[in-house]
C-alpha cells in the first residue's frame, strides 16, 4: 500500500519495475488497484467529470507502460507516475478556473478555522476562552450510513486544494512529505490546508450530531 518517500521505497520501486518489465500481471493488477484511488482523486482536481478523471487515469497507466523503460529510479515511482498523470490531465483540459497557483495561499485560506464568535472577546472574563464548550458527541462515533454521508458531503464541499490535501492525507494515508511532493506545496501550506479542511469536516459533524439527539441518548443508554 502507501509507503514513505525514503530509501527503502526506492529500493522496492526497482524491484517493482523489474517485475513489471518481466510481465508479471499480478504486480500490475496490484499496482492499479492500490494506486488508482489517489490517482482518480488527483485527476479530478483537473477535469470536470468523474468519467474524464477515469479516462485520465487509464491513459496514465498506458503511458506508464510505454515509458517504463525510461524509468531510471531517480524519483520515487509514485512521483514519476504522478507527473505523467498531471500531463495527461492537462492534455484533457485543465480547469481554467485555477487562477491561484498551488504554491501560495488565497486570503480565504487564512484566518481562524473556528468561528471567533465562539470565543470570549477582550472585554470578557477569559478573552480567547470558549464561550461554551463544544457539545459532546456520541461516545462511540461509528460510520453509519448517515455519518458517512455527512463526511463525504463535507469533503465534496471543500475548496479544491483543501479537499486534495485532506483526501491524500486522511483517506489515502499519504505522509505530509508525500503530499508536499505530489502537490508541490510547502510543508507550512500543506498543514494550513489540511487543518482548515479537517476543521470544516468537524464542524459539519458537530452540526449533524446536534440535530440527532437520539443518537446520543441511544449510545448513553447502551453504556
Amino acid at each position: 500500500m502507501v509507503g514513505t518517500v525514503d530509501a527503502p521505497e526506492r529500493f522496492d520501486d526497482r524491484a517493482l519495475v523489474a517485475r513489471l518489465r518481466d510481465g508479471d500481471e499480478q504486480t500490475f493488477a496490484d499496482l492499479v488497484d492500490g494506486w488508482s484511488g489517489w490517482m482518480l482523486r488527483l485527476a479530478r482536481q483537473h477535469v470536470q467529470t468523474q468519467s474524464l478523471a477515469e479516462e485520465v487515469v487509464q491513459e496514465t497507466w498506458l503511458a506508464v507502460l510505454e515509458g517504463l523503460d525510461r524509468f531510471r529510479g531517480e524519483s520515487a515511482l509514485r512521483t514519476w507516475v504522478y507527473r505523467i498523470l498531471l500531463n495527461q490531465a492537462k492534455r484533457r483540459g485543465v480547469r481554467e478556473s485555477r487562477s491561484v497557483p498551488f504554491a501560495s495561499l488565497a486570503p480565504e485560506e487564512q484566518g481562524p478555522t473556528v468561528d471567533p464568535q465562539r470565543f470570549q472577546g477582550p472585554a470578557e472574563p477569559h478573552p480567547g476562552g470558549w464561550r461554551q464548550f463544544p457539545e459532546e458527541w456520541p461516545e462511540q462515533v461509528v460510520l453509519t450510513r448517515e455519518v458517512h454521508e455527512v463526511v463525504a458531503e463535507a469533503l465534496t464541499e471543500l475548496p479544491d486544494r483543501q479537499r486534495a490535501v485532506v483526501a491524500l492525507r486522511d483517506l489515502d494515508g499519504h505522509t505530509s512529505e508525500e503530499v508536499c511532493e505530489l502537490l508541490d506545496i510547502s510543508a507550512g501550506n500543506q498543514r494550513v490546508l489540511l487543518h482548515r479542511g479537517r476543521a470544516v469536516v468537524r464542524a459539519h459533524l458537530e452540526t449533524y450530531f446536534a440535530t440527532v439527539p437520539s443518537t446520543r441518548s441511544e449510545v448513553t443508554d447502551d453504556v
Binding site: 510481465g23 500490475f28 482523486r41 477515469e54 470565543f119 470558549w130 469536516v201
Partner: protein, 82 residues
C-alpha cells in the same frame, strides 16, 4: 495559550511538528481545559471517520481493459527484445 489559539494548533500537534515550548504549552492547556480536550477528541474522531471513507476505484471494465493492455504490452516488449 488561549482556547482560540489551541484550536489552530491541533493538526501541528498531531503531526508532531510543534516546537518543544509550544508543545508544552499545548499539553498544559489540554490538561486544564475540558472544552479543548473535547475539541481535540472530536478532531481525532473526524480524522478517523475520513479514513473510513471508501477508496475510489476504477470501474471494472476500465480495470479489465488495463489488464488486457498490459498483456499486449508484455507481448510487444517480448518481440522488441527478441
Amino acid at each position: 495559550m488561549t482556547c482560540e489559539e489551541f484550536v489552530e494548533l491541533v493538526t501541528s500537534y498531531l503531526d508532531g511538528t510543534l516546537p518543544a515550548d509550544e508543545r508544552r504549552a499545548f499539553d498544559e492547556h489540554l490538561a486544564l481545559c475540558p472544552g479543548c480536550d473535547r475539541y481535540l477528541v472530536q478532531f481525532r474522531q473526524t480524522i478517523d471517520l475520513l479514513g473510513e471513507l471508501p477508496q475510489e476505484s476504477l470501474s471494472s471494465p476500465v480495470r479489465e481493459q488495463l489488464l488486457t493492455a498490459f498483456a499486449a504490452w508484455r507481448r510487444t516488449s517480448d518481440t522488441d527484445g527478441a
